[in-house]
């Protein structure tokens, strides 16, 4: 203690051996942060310490004088406790590690209750043939699409996570119009949605993930009430090419109930382009009740997973346009048949849609 100068700034100079790496700080002014513990400064600290103890001591010193935000800002706002609290508060409900495509495990857990409520209480989803999904390895789920908001992809995702023995995560491909919607898009991304792009899908399948595609895309979402359960064109068969290239089996999925959840009576294209959406839907509740009108009606849902179809073709077959189109249409017909089978299960056409 006797050799300690009064000026703390000078004592904690950059040449001090106990300051591990002073040059790494953005600002050389370390005196501002100095931790004043007079007990530790006297006596030969390092002489009789082992390597591990030295490490530990260094770590503690480091912890004490670790700035939480850069020093130039600390000078301006010396409320470190407030900033520390703010940082932990800001991290609430999000994790500091997301997967390559932006799925955040903590955010997923945060929305879980909502999906569980929709799944069990609101739509009373009955999942058929979930066991057809393999326990591991890649597969491509191909489903029909309906509804103003993509509740169907959320329900397919939740069905597999909830009812499949391996609790697998499905990565639904989300069309651009939804993916770039303010608020909804980022939420979809955090809970596992990926922008519908062939490169993304291929990357996911090569990582042995379960990918759900809705080949009807925007046209499926924009289906009017009079066209309900009539499958639209299946894009350009991109999903078949994908399956051929990656060797992933295709699992056809039929979703029944999504059409009644948000029956689209009409769509307004006027002004819609200005706010970045292809049309403004007109349903019995939207836009009459404002944003609350986007909540789905409580229809009864069925989700059926068919047996996996393994395409017995080499990857080069993806270039054969005729074959691709034939396979796409074959799968489309199968899903249409599955839908009609499920619709036949319902007792009367409209009321049963809600009572189940």
């Amino acid at each position: 203690m006797s050799d300690k100068p009064d000026d703390d700034d000078e004592w904690y100079s950059d040449s001090d051996p106990r300051v591990p790496d002073a040059s790494a700080w953005p600002d050389g002014d370390l005196g501002f942060l100095a931790y004043h513990d007079h007990r530790d400064r006297s006596g030969p600290i390092y002489s009789d310490l082992g390597e591990g103890e030295l490490r530990e001591l260094e770590r503690r010193v480091e912890q004490q004088r670790t700035p939480v935000f850069p020093i130039d800002l600390r000078k301006r706002l010396p409320l470190e406790a407030v900033w520390r609290r703010w940082r932990s508060l800001a991290m609430w409900g999000r994790s500091d590690v997301v997967d390559d495509f932006g799925r955040d495990p903590r955010a997923t857990a945060r929305w879980e209750w909502l999906f569980e409520f929709l799944y069990t209480k609101w739509f009373r989803v009955q999942a058929i043939g979930v066991d057809n999904i393999p326990d591991e390895g890649r597969a491509l789920l191909v489903a029909n699409h309906a509804g103003t908001l993509p509740y169907d992809s959320a329900m397919v995702m939740h069905a597999v996570r909830r009812d499949h023995p391996a609790r697998r995560d499905v990565r639904p491909l989300v069309e651009d119009t939804v993916f770039h919607l303010p608020f909804l898009g980022p939420i979809m991304n955090r809970i596992g949605g990926v922008r519908a792009d062939p490169e993304n899908a291929e990357r996911l399948l090569l990582k042995d993930e379960l990918v759900a595609v809705f080949p009807e895309g925007e046209k499926g979402m924009g289906k009017l009430w009079k066209d309900r359960y009539r499958l639209q064109r299946f894009g350009r068969g991109g999903f078949v090419k994908l399956a051929l290239r990656t060797g992933a089996p295709i699992i056809p999925v039929a979703v029944v109930g999504a059409e009644e959840a948000a029956p689209m009576l009409g769509k307004v294209t006027w002004f819609a382009k200005n706010i970045g959406i292809p049309w403004i839907p007109v349903t019995p509740t939207f836009p009459w009740f404002g944003p609350a009108g986007l909540l789905p009606l409580p229809s009864k849902w069925f989700v059926e997973f068919a047996e996996p179809i393994v395409l017995e073709y080499p990857p080069e077959a993806a270039e054969d346009r005729l074959l691709v189109n034939r396979l796409a249409d074959q799968i489309r017909t199968q899903i249409q048949t599955m839908i009609e089978g499920l619709l036949g299960k319902r007792r009367s056409p409209l009321l049963a849609a809600f009572l189940g």
């Binding site: 591990p20 790496d21 790494a24 700080w25 953005p26 490490r55 530990e56 260094e58 770590r59 480091e62 912890q63 670790t66 700035p67 939480v68 935000f69 850069p70 020093i71 130039d72 800002l73 301006r76 706002l77 900033w83 520390r84 703010w86 940082r87 800001a90 991290m91 999000r94 500091d96 590690v97 997301v98 390559d100 495509f101 932006g102 955040d104 651009d176 770039h180 919607l181 303010p182 608020f183 909804l184 898009g185 980022p186 991304n189 955090r190 990926v194 922008r195 792009d197 490169e199 993304n200 990357r203």
Partner: protein, 334 residues
């Protein structure tokens, strides 16, 4: 992947005063395989050494190409590293254009005459541009979209196109382009570090794209690898992992200010025009859409894989010590 050691190599580095240039000088100085390093810049870099020779060179001068050619000829330069690019946008757009676009032309003119064995160019992943149609991982073959009205990005795109054309016309020269993700770290200074040093940051209301960074030490290591190896072509140099923009702000403890797009554009336009902020309005697109690159090719062909995760990179930029107490972040387990 890694070349057999060739003794007596001479390396010329433009932009020796930049962070990457300085780091490269330091690393080459320590490596016995390199005989001499020419540091070319308009002012002397902070790094000095026995092998380092400082030469004042202004790439905006009209006859700098012949000057450079004589220099390369005289010193028998084996590898040319072109890193004279701006790390943050400037209001002096004309000068920036002269330096980046025309300066690259001068460098290529000199290289076309002398034909050094290897040409390494430093670029950024910003050249891909933030676009709603971008896939989650942009590969090196993706189109260089640049940005509609960002001169900062477009000058780099034009410079890179010139270098690509040069590579086609001169098959004898190994041309290697390194596209660095935004570099973060305690010492580097660029557009992103300036942006994240502010206590508040704009957020485009309802949008939250994924972001990617590379740690300054990883970036410097990649550049060193690129000078050593004989791999040709473009390489994305990216860090480990991605994080949503708002999570980055939360980790940094910055206050997000959500703004509707129209308001944000007008506000940044005003702030940029009055020179109050260092990021132009076109930068807002990078807060709206993805611009994340895939680093697999660099791993396969260059032998570079990043050591630090994005979280560790952000915390190191912030000045938070690693949890395992290691004083050298580069060795820490992130």
């Amino acid at each position: 992947m890694s070349s057999p050691p060739r003794p007596g190599r001479v390396v010329a580095v433009t932009g020796a005063c930049t962070y990457l240039g300085g780091e490269l000088l330091r690393r080459l100085e320590e490596d016995p395989r390199y005989e001499r390093v020419l540091a070319l810049d308009i002012r002397p870099p902070s790094v000095t050494g026995a092998k380092i020779e400082l030469i004042k060179l202004d790439l905006t001068q009209p006859t700098v190409d012949s000057e450079l050619a004589t220099l390369l000829e005289r010193h028998q330069v084996d590898t040319f590293v072109h890193g004279a690019f701006l790390s943050h946008p400037t209001h002096a757009a004309e000068w920036a254009h002269e330096l980046e676009d025309v300066g690259t032309m001068h460098v290529l003119n000199a290289c076309a005459g002398v034909e050094p064995r290897r040409l390494v160019m430093i670029s950024t992943t910003l050249v891909y541009g933030a676009h709603p149609k971008n896939p989650n991982f942009l590969t090196e073959d993706s189109e260089l979209r640049g940005h509609r009205d960002s001169r900062f990005v477009n000058d780099k795109v034009r410079a890179e196109r010139q270098v690509q054309r040069f590579a086609k016309e001169h098959p004898d020269v190994e041309v290697c382009i390194l596209r660095f993700a935004p570099i973060l770290g305690p010492t580097v200074s660029n557009m992103y570090t300036r942006f994240f040093r502010r206590p508040v940051a704009p957020v485009m209301m309802g949008h939250d794209p994924l972001m990617q960074f590379v740690h300054e030490q990883d970036a410097a290591f990649a550049l060193q690898k690129a000078v050593e190896s004989d791999a040709a072509g473009a390489f994305n140099i990216v860090g480990k992992g991605v994080l949503p923009y708002t999570t980055v702000l939360a980790l940094l403890g910055r206050v997000p200010v959500p703004m509707p797009q129209l308001v944000a554009r007008q506000v940044t336009k005003l702030l940029w025009a009055t020179q109050l902020v260092g990021s132009p309005p076109s930068f807002l697109d990078f807060l709206l859409y993805l611009c994340v690159a895939d680093g697999d090719k660099a791993k396969r062909e260059l032998g570079f894989s990043p050591r630090l995760s994005i979280k560790r990179t952000i915390l190191d930029f912030l000045g938070v010590a690693p949890e395992d107490g290691a004083t050298d972040v580069a060795r820490a387990q992130a």
